[in-house]
Assembly symmetry: C2
Homo-oligomer: 351 residues x 2
């Protein structure tokens, strides 16, 4: 199989970890006789530095003409505390999602047995957790009209949703639930928000087409509690953009390491794969960032093209690296000299 992959390493540790994912994909290509073509382009703070644009046209064009996108991370602290900055790295990511129509962000959260001790939660609470979060990614308050009054004293953000936007991701969530534990939990704030009530109505109707799947509702504040009290109650979580941002980040730490979590952002035509962790500026250039999330993003990419044997081999490599403690310092209690690239080498060699 031939796959054209656009590589967008982005900011901070993005380039370092993405390099390991590429290394692993190259090993897969060799082993299974595929052709993966990688083309790189800038995005985020680095693109602002180079071209004063967090998503240059050539980058967007490359993404549009590729079969899949491998994304690193975005964000630079120098923009965070400047509320007046006109151009911000995140705009690049948001525009990319919107332009490519990547409406569904899928985040698997799994408690790895080997890492239970690392979780901030007690073992008996986290053990067995296996959640798949479906977050709407191109609507809601992220993309609604923004306003700042001329005197700069009043601001607003509009949260909007349409039936169509809700249905297309809901279908994905229900289909996923069919192959899992047949349960979808809709997280919303229907006791306060009109948009949440629309979500509840649309999803309730759509659920009738999936009689084998149970539909549950949870207010987002309660969901934030339940995620810590009893994460095992969840199978598939379906939610809107902002709630998904918060709940999926919360979920991402209960497993013991955010450095292991990958995500897919998919639309009708395009698909992008990226680690959940951010640009982690403190670790940049030190060769200590955990590349596993990026490597598992590559595995999700392969799954997207139905290359399941290939994806499984990567996962086996990751599990082996965890078992042998060929892991970066964040997870390693035995050795202190295992770098980002050594983890990548190990998994590539395993393949």
């Amino acid at each position: 199989m031939k796959i054209n992959i656009a590589v967008l390493p982005g900011d901070g540790i993005g380039p370092e970890v993405t390099n390991q994912a590429i290394k692993v994909l190259k090993a897969i290509a060799l082993e299974f006789d595929h052709t993966f073509l990688f083309k790189e382009a800038p995005v985020g703070a680095i693109a602002i530095d180079q071209q004063n644009n967090p998503l240059p046209d050539q980058t967007l064009d490359l993404c549009k003409s590729s079969d899949a996108i491998l994304f690193g991370a975005i964000g630079d602290p120098k923009y965070d505390n400047d509320p007046t900055a006109k151009v911000r790295p995140e705009q690049g990511l948001l525009k990319l999602r919107k332009e490519l129509g990547l409406y569904a962000n899928i985040r698997p959260v799994k408690a790895y047995d080997m890492l239970l001790e690392k979780s901030p939660l007690k073992r008996e609470i986290i053990e067995g957790t296996d959640i798949s979060i479906y977050r709407e990614l191109t609507g809601g308050i992220y993309f609604g009209k923004k306003h700042l009054s001329e005197d700069g004293n009043t601001a607003s953000d509009l949260c909007e949703y349409s039936k169509y936007e809700i249905e297309r991701i809901a279908h994905l969530a229900f289909k996923a639930a069919r192959n899992r534990k047949q349960k979808v939990t809709l997280v919303d704030k229907a006791n306060v928000l009109e948009t949440s009530r629309l979500w509840r109505k649309v999803v309730t109707n759509l659920a009738k087409g999936y009689p084998d799947v149970t539909l549950d509702f949870l207010f987002v504040d309660n969901a934030a509690m339940q995620m810590i009290l009893n994460p095992n109650q969840f199978d598939v979580i379906l939610t809107e953009n902002l709630f998904g941002d918060v709940i999926s980040d919360e979920a991402s730490v209960i497993g013991g390491s955010i450095g292991l979590l990958a995500s897919a952002s998919v639309g009708n035509k395009h698909a992008m794969f990226e680690p959940i962790h951010g640009s982690y500026p403190q670790a940049t250039g030190k060769d200590i960032a955990n590349p596993v999330a990026s490597i598992l993003s590559a595995a999700m990419l392969l799954e997207h093209f139905d290359l399941h044997d290939e994806a499984n081999l990567i996962k086996k490599g990751v599990e082996k690296s965890l078992k042998l403690e060929i892991t970066t310092p964040d997870l390693n209690t035995s050795y202190d000299n295992i770098t980002t690239s050594k983890v990548g080498d190990f998994i590539a060699d395993f393949i």
Copy 2:
């Protein structure tokens, strides 16, 4: 001292737990020679059932003419899954907050040593946690214009904030920090929302008037992670309405029991005190609901009137009840016959 207290028991376990708080306040009145006058009025689902209005005029009038309000809980599942219901219990609470100008919701989150084992988090993570959350309560997306298209296929909610709304609660948060660990963390989503950027700008400016207090920023998704990874890093958290709803509920469970957490909602003229837990319909009428959060809300009420000795005596009573395991079943591992009212009796007798 004479205090006119409006009592709004509300729904579910609200009445049961509020009764214990009243019992305790009566004991305080006797012991310290105060006069507390209690007048009760309906709110929430029960008010809808009686008068088809979640906040009847007489209830609002009573609150306006009282010195303080003791609130129980609100909400009934029969309204939750009906997105088309025109009247909902929560509207009563939201209107009350708005009409009384209760713009600051203050939620202390403390890890009680005796309850560390009950926390879903590991002891070493939660130990020592002592956070005070300042949540804006009368603005943001809760109160912005809502819209549902005529065909019912599109909905929107507007999030709005003004400098004035941000400043008044920010001052409370910074003043509180002065008497604590001199740190305020502003939780927002300034990388995406215009309103969050206004918060960041206004709070940054205002912080200059509090040179003894450190100001930190955290995106809400990161805050949801940090609350589990390292809650000890927080002192005072300042945030807008919706983020405060989610983050404070998340914070409320890390201490081991949400049944112990009280809150105050204050404005320039009025103040309301309520447990953080909701109406908990499953426990209603069983005399098993934990009344401590409501009793500690009464203590917060006394503190509001500078009756610190009185408030401290209640807290001592609560600590003693915890130590002797005179607690409801949710916390009790030794006795199984300690009811809601027995806990109230014990603390009242102690006083």
